[in-house]
Symmetry: D3
Subunit: 147 residues, 6 copies
């Protein structure tokens, strides 16, 4: 769904919460095949029995891609991604965990280098079903100013 | 392949270059289905004709996941991912582009909070077939010190 | 396998039964990614615990596509699909259910608008391992008359 | 996104239009693998050169599943699917076509058999980039009445 | 479809020809992700420009798996696979090639080690649209003798 | 990783062992969809309850493709595949089994027909977590002689 929002339309502290999604063994296998990362931490149950967690853990790149993807429900034609900062994975994601993402408008400032644009930072936090944070990052958007 | 490396085994400026991989329309479709992000920028050729690039562009999360995945060829049991900083997408990836990744040991320092560990930053840069940077990030590893 | 059949070669009440197929969590994830329908009824085990069934249920579009697909073993070059009527899903499909399809020649009549063609209705019914109907539809074929 | 709507909240003639999506060769291959329907009409370019269209055409079950899936953006906890009627494929979908779906509230009536429920028919029509209808069906919803 | 055949029901020289299937870029990408073999011969168009063929060539394991899979249309409950001999790939498969398989009953003999069983060798040959052999193997079946 | 090796660089008896990989239900479903082989031995849990093994068993083509794929970690630009001999599946692979492959340089001889090339046979053996052999084959490489 398209929702047009200029820089001035964002409000500090605004928050939105996505649907949940259960991360399955299928997602692990698809992600390995998609990225070529078949490290045994994600793919080998026997090896994982020798690790502290005792089971396969999700690729960080998958937790990021799905965590961010869950929030991809509204398109703002006045904004585009500049980059991401402080990407962290405080807790691992296991097969069967159900995650959702909460996006909060963090900081807002005029872009120092681009006239007519502001920077909006969306604090993007993904939680599992126990309320633990499994992914955190700061998504930097460049957003047009209203003329 | 497992290659055991302690913090002291890393050398500033060391670099490794991955194989190349052509990003296909299939990768676009798989990534949309994997993440649930079906934004028309990635999926709708008619819509994209109205944009500056004139064609579908890759999801940033895909460029990151595959760019990092290309480098997932050697496992170091003494290291694990702490996070990523400064993730950027200077140029878009189009269908048919061929990308490869260059990993360079950037900075190294003792971890201020974890005794017995150092931080190694792998500057991870993904290039297309024209030598343009399509992804840049700083991968922070925590690596055990040799006792 | 190609089996040429003119309208006159179909016989009311003829029936054929397909192989069985177990519907897996993988099928759920593939279908969501294929269609873009990530509704929590299909994808979120925590949400589903709050529903009457207590677990994820298959997309109706998947039960239809696989139920019909199971019967796609013989090609008749004299027939093509006109459409489907009365598509229903009397019981849900759960992960781990094994389904098969029974196709019965229901009604046959000359096509009122197309000279030289007849309409054959294939009653297409998909059952689970408990003999319950999980999908029913009427597949309308247009079939050439023998000259 | 959840939007709670009782029967009384639907309005005859209301319409919503989805995003567009380009149907790719990947979708054809994924659908064949997902359903097991590898008929040469969808999978064999040499065979298709001998047919009137001269190229591969999409599975009807895929056009239906994706056409309906495009509209799966808002969840109404007061409604569920009863079935579909009059599913038709007036024009074929070719690789590279871009489709979108328009949903219109068609007819509304009290459910004759279920006290406290009404039937809402969503006329679901999928168009290609030339404005031709490639799928039509009537999606019957059962929706709770406001007490 | 199940077709029960005892050893005595096979006839030397009998042959069956499968449907055709166009091998797509999607198949290349799926096979790489399924097997973990991302060698640039299959995945990197720039690298392949430097090779004699000038383009990506299919994994041998894929040509084998799909070539054999094309013939998986009739199940004989009296037979099972013992193994394969002489697996060869005389010509490469390129993206866009259309292949089909011809199975011929090659040799038949009593199994020297298993009382009540015979060995049937199915010469399995896969051709492209130019009639060139892209895969050849000898599929050894163990088949029950009629009592 | 590219490792250039001439015929003279191979040594009889040299061996390398791959990472492990757990074979999942997802792999079964992906392989069926990739090859079109939906035989109930791989796909139908109810049918499989009537067989000696009591559960679904992997396609032989998948055990081969993944078993060989596990070893696809080093590219030798002086070698290419001639074919495979004696492909066998001594034990079945079940969902949840973890396999790895051991490659041993078996026999080496000058190629009788190709001047400047030798034949190297890699005995390729795939084991499950109980140390049982689930796949064996002889991979014949043609390798350039050093001038």
């Amino acid at each position: 769904m398209e929702i047009e929002q200029y820089f001035e339309d964002y409000a500090l502290g605004d928050t939105r919460k996505t649907n949940g999604r259960t991360i399955t063994e299928t997602d692990f296998v698809v992600h390995a095949g998609h990225t070529g990362d078949f490290f045994p931490h994600h793919m080998d149950t026997e090896f994982c029995k020798t690790l502290p967690f005792g089971q396969r853990i999700a690729h960080g790149t998958m937790t990021f891609a799905i965590g961010v993807g869950l929030a991809a429900t509204q398109i703002n034609p006045r904004a585009f991604t500049y980059g991401y900062e402080r990407l962290r994975f405080p807790k691992p994601v296991f097969i069967g965990d159900t995650i959702h993402t909460v996006v909060t408008i963090g900081t807002m400032k005029l872009d120092p280098k681009r006239d007519g644009f502001g920077q909006v930072v969306e604090k993007t936090e993904t939680f599992n079903q126990r309320g633990e944070t499994v992914m955190y990052c700061e998504h930097i958007l460049l957003v047009e100013l209203r003329k």
